[in-house]
C-alpha cells in the first residue's frame, strides 16, 4: 500500500519506539551484549597482558570484541518477534520496509549504547594509547552503520530459518569481513599516525552499498 512520506516516517518511528520499549523492559539483548563484551575483554586482557605499544594487536582485538559482542546479541530483534508470534501483528500495522527501517534504527541505537560502554572499558583494561578521536570515531561510526545494516537484513532472514539464532553469526560474519579488515587497518593507522583515507573511502562505499541494496530488498523479506 502506497502511503505518504510522513505516515511512513511515523510508522518507522513507532517501530523504533516499540523496539526500544520492549528492549528496555527486559534488557535481555543489551545485558547479553555487555556481559559478553566485558567477559571477553577481561579474558583477552589478562591472557594477553599489557599491549600498550602493540597497536596492531590492539586494533584487531578491539574490533573482534566489538563484532562478537554484537553478533552474539543482535539476531534477537527479529527472533523475538517470531518467538512471541508478534510478527503478524506488526505486519498488519506497518509495511516490510517500515518495519525493517525501524529495526535498523533500533540496531544503530543498540550498537551505540554497547560502544559507549565498550570503548572506555577497552582503553582502560588494555591500557591503550589515546586514539586520535576524530579518525577513530569516523572509523567506528562507519563500521557501526555497516554492522547495523547487515545485522538487520541477515537477522530478518535468519529469524525465518529452522535454527533461528544458530546461523546468524556464521551468515553475518562473511558479509562483515571486508568491514572488519578495513576498520582494523584504519584503527591501526590512526594509532600509528599515518593516513587512513583509503580505509575510510572503502568503509563509506561499503556502508552505502549495503544500505542501498538493503532498501531494495526489505520488501521481499516477508510474503504478503
Amino acid at each position: 500500500m502506497p502511503r505518504s512520506w510522513s505516515s511512513s516516517m511515523a510508522a518507522v518511528w513507532a517501530v523504533l519506539r516499540k523496539e526500544c520499549r520492549s528492549e528496555w523492559r527486559t534488557r535481555y539483548g543489551l545485558n547479553a551484549a555487555l556481559l559478553f563484551a566485558v567477559a571477553s575483554l577481561a579474558a583477552v586482557s589478562f591472557s594477553a597482558g599489557r599491549l600498550g605499544e602493540r597497536t596492531d594487536v590492539l586494533a584487531a582485538l578491539f574490533w573482534i570484541v566489538l563484532l562478537f559482542a554484537t553478533l552474539a546479541s543482535m539476531s534477537h530483534a527479529f527472533v523475538r518477534e517470531t518467538e512471541n508470534r508478534t510478527m503478524l501483528l506488526l505486519r498488519l500495522v506497518a509495511s516490510p520496509t517500515e518495519i525493517a527501517l525501524g529495526k535498523l534504527l533500533f540496531n544503530l541505537v543498540f550498537l551505540l549504547v554497547v560502544e559507549v560502554a565498550i570503548v572506555p572499558l577497552f582503553m582502560v583494561l588494555m591500557s591503550a594509547p589515546p586514539p586520535r578521536w576524530g579518525s577513530f570515531l569516523t572509523v567506528l561510526g562507519l563500521g557501526t552503520v555497516s554492522l547495523a545494516a547487515s545485522s538487520t537484513l541477515v537477522g530478518a532472514v535468519i529469524a525465518q530459518t529452522r535454527g533461528r539464532g544458530a546461523l546468524f553469526a556464521g551468515v553475518s560474519l562473511p558479509l562483515l569481513l571486508p568491514v572488519l579488515a578495513a576498520a582494523v587497518s584504519g584503527t591501526k593507522a590512526q594509532w600509528i599516525g599515518v593516513g587512513l583515507d583509503g580505509e575510510i573511502r572503502l568503509l563509506i562505499a561499503y556502508a552505502v552499498a549495503l544500505l542501498g541494496m538493503s532498501l531494495l530488498l526489505y520488501e521481499h523479506l516477508w510474503e504478503d
Binding site: Q160, R162, G163, L167, V171, P174, L210, L221
Partner: protein, 215 residues
C-alpha cells in the same frame, strides 16, 4: 552433441599451445602456466556469482521457480570454481613465495568469497518450504554479491599485495606477449563455455529431482 566435443578440443588445443608454443615470463618461469588455469577459474567464479545474483533479483521480481534453480546452481558452481582458483593460487604461492598461505590481500579476499557463498549454501539448507527458501536465499545472494566486487577488485588494489597484476585496469591495457595473450584469451573463452555447460546440466538435474519428488 557436437558443441560439447568442440569445447573439449578447444580447451585441449589451448593447453597444448600453452606448453608448446607460448613463451615463459622471465621471473615466473615454469609457473607462468598457472595463468591459463588460475585466472579463467577466477573469472568464472565472478561470472557464476554474478549469474546467481542476476537470477536471484529476477526471482524476487518475477517469482518464477526457474530463476531460483539457476541462482542455486550458479552459486554452487561459483563456489566450486572459487575453490579451484584458491587451490591453484595457493600452489603457485608455494612455488613463488615459499608458503601455501600467508594472508596476502588476494588470498584474504578470495577466502572471504569462499566463506560468503558457503554461508549461502548453509542458509539454503536451513530453510523449510520451497518458496520461502527461494525468496530468502535470493535476498542473501543479492546482498552477498555487494561484497564480491569489493573483495575481488577493490581491496587488492588498496592494500599492498605481492600478487602479479596481469590485467592492469587502471591503465586499461594488457601487458602480455601476444602468444601468451592468445592462449590466455582462448582459455577464458573455453572456461566460459564449460561453465555454461555445467550450469545447464546442474539446472536440469535439479528439475529432474523436483519431478521425482512430485511424482
Amino acid at each position: 552433441m557436437l558443441w560439447r566435443w568442440l569445447i573439449f578440443i578447444w580447451i585441449a588445443a589451448f593447453m597444448i599451445a600453452a606448453f608448446a608454443w607460448a613463451p615463459l615470463v622471465p621471473v615466473l618461469e615454469a609457473t607462468t602456466r598457472v595463468l591459463y588455469f588460475h585466472i579463467p577459474a577466477a573469472w568464472v567464479t565472478v561470472l557464476a556469482l554474478g549469474w546467481s545474483m542476476i537470477h536471484s533479483a529476477l526471482y524476487l521480481w518475477k517469482r518464477d521457480m526457474r530463476h531460483d534453480d539457476q541462482a542455486a546452481a550458479a552459486a554452487e558452481l561459483g563456489l566450486l570454481f572459487c575453490v579451484v582458483a584458491t587451490v591453484s593460487g595457493s600452489l603457485w604461492a608455494k612455488a613463488m613465495w615459499g608458503s601455501y598461505w600467508n594472508w596476502d590481500p588476494r588470498e584474504t579476499s578470495i577466502f572471504f568469497v569462499l566463506l560468503l557463498y558457503a554461508a549461502y549454501l548453509a542458509l539454503r539448507g536451513s530453510i523449510e518450504g520451497e518458496e520461502k527458501r527461494a525468496r530468502l536465499s535470493a535476498v542473501y545472494s543479492v546482498i552477498a554479491f555487494v561484497a564480491v566486487p569489493f573483495l575481488m577488485f577493490v581491496v587488492p588494489r588498496i592494500y599492498f599485495s605481492l600478487h602479479p597484476e596481469v590485467i592492469d585496469l587502471s591503465r586499461g591495457k594488457v601487458d602480455m606477449d601476444p602468444r601468451i595473450r592468445i592462449c590466455f584469451s582462448g582459455m577464458l573463452v573455453g572456461f566460459t563455455f564449460l561453465y555454461f555447460w555445467l550450469q545447464s546440466l546442474k539446472v536440469r538435474v535439479t528439475r529432474l529431482e523436483r519431478r521425482a519428488l512430485v511424482s
